[in-house]
């Protein structure tokens, strides 16, 4: 097993070039009888290109069916690509799958993928042998992995008695055993409570990317994971990678013309001139009597300052005027809406393939 410790920060670990994967679509008997020789194909990953470097946390965002999981499975050698090239630490997933498997550890999120009648330690021991961890290092690696995920005290407990959170951490410990260079995570905090999820994210950031220098690719629907954890994110839809950038950049890019004005006269005519839209009332707005409304300020900070001045001049009472927060869902929606395929012209799309 090639240890991540020997990788220099910033060195290229994952290289995906024009990756395309199509799957056959199941047809009805009637359809098969009508057109026996034709094949219906669905493109799951469409000419995707990106790179991930050592020590980098790369997030894959997108709605269900966007192609995120298929992409992760290609990187893990579970699925063969149809076109394009995928290299892990220089090894081709198609031609050198064994070398790739020695460097990539996918975190299989299914809790049943462990032996429930064995203890945590016995499960890890099994996988240490499968991962070809040198025999004399097995006890130490197991102890380290259990320690890192905080399961040392429960190492002799049968896995069937673990809670969901403990199982999730054990799955992570299993993936850490071979000291992988690339770690693949598919919605890793799905079954964790908020406190455990935050602790787990801290562990991922500090232990994996900072200390171990792994490249981590994470498919997620979770805003905290995308915004706090990821060095860069890629937004996928219908198999295409529509935008790449830091999460903050993308959020700013999508939301840079939207501001929130807190006012006592939300129906004031002056607000309508700036594309006023309602924002659902919050407990704070009801209590204080100040209502947040969204306005558009195309032209950056200068334009927002001008609008604020105009509103004040028009007699609109304003207590706060701030850039609108964009949720992950809004970000994804906006990137998809403004993608060139959908008639938009989002800047992020131009970045596709640049990284």
């Amino acid at each position: 097993m090639s240890s991540a410790a020997s990788v220099h920060p910033g060195s290229l670990l994952v290289s995906v070039r024009a990756l395309t994967k199509r799957f056959r679509v199941r047809r009805s008997w009637r359809e098969v009888a009508r057109h026996p020789l034709t094949r219906a194909l669905q493109t799951s990953v469409d000419a995707v290109t990106f790179d991930v470097q050592a020590g980098e946390f790369f997030g894959l965002l997108g709605p269900n069916g966007a192609g995120k999981t298929t992409l992760l499975k290609v990187l893990a050698t579970f699925i063969l690509p149809d076109e394009g090239e995928v290299r892990i630490d220089g090894y081709d997933v198609r031609r050198e799958p064994d070398a790739v498997r020695a460097r990539v550890a996918p975190v299989i999120a299914n809790e049943r993928s462990l032996y429930w009648r064995l203890t945590a330690r016995e499960n890890l021991e099994l996988f240490a042998h499968l991962w070809r961890v040198p025999s004399n290092e097995v006890p130490q690696r197991i102890a380290e992995a259990l320690d890192v995920v905080g399961l040392t005290d429960t190492r002799r407990k049968m896995v069937g008695q673990f809670s969901s959170g403990m199982l999730q951490r054990l799955l992570i410990a299993r993936a850490l055993l071979p000291q992988p260079r690339v770690l693949l995570l598919d919605e890793p905090t799905r079954s964790l409570d908020p406190v455990s999820a935050r602790e787990f994210r801290r562990f991922l950031r500090e232990e994996l990317t900072s200390r171990r220098n792994c490249a981590v690719i994470i498919a997620t629907h979770n805003a905290d994971e995308a915004l706090e954890l990821c060095t860069r994110v890629g937004v996928m839809n219908a198999g295409k990678l529509l935008a790449i950038g830091t999460a903050r950049d993308l959020v700013q890019r999508v939301g840079d013309d939207r501001y929130v004005a807190w006012t006592q006269t939300p129906d004031h005519p002056a607000l309508r001139g700036f594309g006023r839209t309602e924002i659902p009332a919050t407990e704070e707005s009801v209590r204080s009597g100040w209502t947040p409304v969204s306005v558009r300020a195309v032209g950056g900070e200068r334009a927002s300052a001008d609008i604020l001045a105009e509103l004040v001049q028009a007699g609109v009472p304003i207590s706060r005027f701030e850039r609108a927060n964009v949720s992950l869902a809004e970000l994804i929606e906006a990137v998809i809406r403004t993608a060139p395929e959908n008639g938009g012209g989002h800047n992020g799309a131009a970045e596709k393939g640049r990284q």
Partner: protein
């Protein structure tokens, strides 16, 4: 092949079985108890069966015990891998195992190793219990018997690989294990010698590997015949073993490639 990975998977299977302590103890007791009615029924029909089994040992109890031993082993060799893969595909364990750098062959042997070894040991326990009840085994022929048992196991493991290939590729074993077990049970000479099979169906018996294996096994273990005396059956059994294991291995590898291409390897 990675002996270390195979041993680790077999050990995990053993530990899991041990964790069900009561079930483990009960199955062992049941195995030993089973031999008693077998002994009395065999003695009761001994006069009836004696002429038919004259060429493969003279005592029906010994004939039947060796037949059941081989049948148990065959059942495990044919069904252990497809059963393990079916279950492990559904749980995601198969995905976890194939994500490691261990080769497909080691994974197959490792996943099916424990149930096959367990069947072999159960069968051997049955034969030993039979020996305590009077079966005359020719211990000097044990090496030859072991060779024949290994060939029976390899030939039927090849069929198991083909069934596993169908599970990997299409999520069904197409009832291959059941068909093989039924055919081997009826035409393989487990309960009666193949010589008593009616001529119209005897031809089918010619393509049942167990028929050759069991005949050779009884000749060596019960009659004390040397390898030269069973060379004909041994040769055919060896051919079956080579062809079936080669075809099975190719089918298994092809199924993994197909599943990776179709994206179905980690669907559960």
């Amino acid at each position: 092949m990675s002996p270390r990975a195979i041993a680790a998977l077999i050990r995990a299977g053993w530990r899991t079985a041990l964790s069900y302590r009561l079930r483990f103890a009960v199955s062992l007791v049941a195995l030993l108890v089973m031999i008693v009615p077998l002994y009395f029924v065999s003695r009761a029909i001994q006069p009836l069966m004696a002429p038919a089994i004259a060429s493969e040992g003279t005592h029906y109890f010994a004939f039947l015990t060796v037949g059941l031993f081989a049948s148990t082993l065959v059942a495990s060799c044919v069904a252990a891998l497809p059963d393990a893969i079916t279950s492990d595909l559904n749980s995601g364990f198969f995905e976890a195992v194939i994500s490691t750098p261990v080769g497909a062959g080691s994974v197959a042997v490792g996943l099916s190793g424990y149930p096959i070894l367990r069947s072999g040991l159960r069968g051997a326990t049955l034969v030993l219990a039979g020996a305590l009840l009077g079966i005359q085994l020719v211990w000097a022929r044990l090496p030859e018997a072991m060779l024949i048992i290994a060939l029976i196991a390899v030939a039927h493991y090849g069929i198991g690989l083909m069934a596993a290939a169908l599970v990997v590729a299409f999520r069904t074993n197409s009832a291959i294990p059941q068909i093989v077990l039924l055919t081997s049970g009826l035409l393989g000479g487990v309960y009666y010698p193949t010589t008593v099979i009616p001529s119209w169906i005897a031809n089918v018996s010619d393509v049942v590997p167990l028929a050759y294996g069991l005949r050779a096994l009884r000749h060596t273990l019960l009659d004390g015949q040397g390898i030269q005396m069973v060379l004909n059956d041994l040769g055919i059994l060896t051919s079956f073993a080579f062809v079936l294991i080669a075809v099975g291995a190719m089918a298994y590898r092809a199924s993994l490639h197909y599943a990776r291409q179709a994206g179905s390897l980690s669907q559960y």
